[in-house]
Amino acid sequence: MESEILVDVRNIKKSFGPIKAVDDISFQVKRGDIFGFLGPNGAGKSTAMKIITCFLEQDSGRVTVAGHDTLTDSLAVRQKIGYLPESAPAYGEMTVTGFLKFVAEARCVADIPAAIARVVEMTGLERVVHQTVETLSKGFKRRVGLAQALIHDPEVLILDEPTDGLDPNQKALVQDLINRIARNKAIILSTHILDEVERVCNRALIISRGQMLVDSTPRDLMARAGNHNVIRLVVREADKNLADQIAARDWCERLVRHTETDWEIFPKDRANHLNDVMAMVAGKEIESIAIQEGRLEELFREITEGVCA
């Protein structure tokens, strides 16, 4: 059965004076999706998120969230969304409990104490609930931001760089939390951390200079990276004939010799030709042979540098 589309973004454009912050972006996010929003600084990720969350109005195009239009039914959209803005702003003078209570009241949550207890447990804030927000570490502040975004158990969760600046343990905790709650929600997260997209997201969109460059699954994106299925072969003794034979294969784009015995073989079609190479080196002495999986980082650089150049 087709999953329900919760966020539908169609051809949105937004300019600030002469600068096109978002230029004709369209995508859909279904229930159960964890949608990674990738792009260099100033790419338009935050602007797009602000449009979806009704903080900004688009110049043209349409956004609907759970069937509600962001321009004509803004309050209903905001009720459906949980949002963690970049840098997780919160009222510093309030205690964690007081802040969560304020957000819950603003969102008309029915059972506020139960909702606070649920998100405090989910985000591991038990130790600091009575502290004021301004006294918390960056990691805890980010968790408070996550807790407020989850307080009304929203269908759509939008997280602007949720793990930025967190230590590895805190990053793992947040990523684990996102994975746990993802089943019944549509989650959009923007990030610079490409490992996070590989680990958490089932779809990724790369934008640069406000334009959509790629919309696909992280696995597919990795397969499109220039280093996908590159074979690293280290032979025990220099063998020019073998190198020439491999380079002459019709699937081989190029063979890079790092040393006389250490080669990298780039396939034209990004396909896996490990078996062919194994057959060619059969009977010869080799130190090691390995095939690389494409890295998002590589593709990200290829694509965004291409645009920014």
Binding site: R78, Y91, M94, G98, A106
Partner: protein
Amino acid sequence: MSRYTGLKAVFKREFRGYFATPLGYIFLVIFLVAGGWLTVSRDFGQFLEIRQASLTPFFSFLPHIFVMLVPAVAMRLWAEERKTGTVELLFTLPITLEGSYLGKFLAGWAFLGVALLLTFPVVIWVAVLGNPDWGTIATGYLGSFLLAGAFLAIGMLFSALTKNQVVSFILSVAASVSLLSLGLPQVLEFFGNIAFVGGYLEQIFSALSLFDHFHSLTRGLLEFRVIAFFAVLIVGWLGCGMMLLNQLKAS
């Protein structure tokens, strides 16, 4: 969902906020000390010298205190939200612009109301000294409350205009002083002497004078035109402030 969705939540947060930091208490202390001193001082209110059971000395100097202290209350209301980024959080909650703006305004106004209520010892004092005109005292307090609301609405607009609280404070003091000065005899005389338009300007400035309308109430005159004047002034500044904030909130 109404036009004022979120007003109650914002009001509660803001009102409690005044008492969550020392700033609110510092304001109250300064207000009460300044109010008390200007009332009893031989150079200003001469409350003890005039030997009347009247709060006129107290009310006479309230505009001068408000013109400095109310902008101090108003300056953080939006400037701080915009500077710290919480404005983004606030406007992505299901809260309308009107709900949040009025919630903040009413909380600030209620806080100023608390400050006025804390001047009750001066009322007890005049009651002990003689037989005061309770009607005049009531309209005087009403006028003071309305004047505080007008200055607060002015201050909120400038707080929405800039992220810098100091700039907001200076601009709202300047605007409040200008409005207050419109009704001063020297100002009216100056503009009245301008050729051709002087008479009109004098009439306009006199009609816009905060002092005149405020003193009507402190003299015990409860007139509809005075209440309407303050209502229009407050609503006008609030409306302009909302439009401004809507344009600038994301900048």
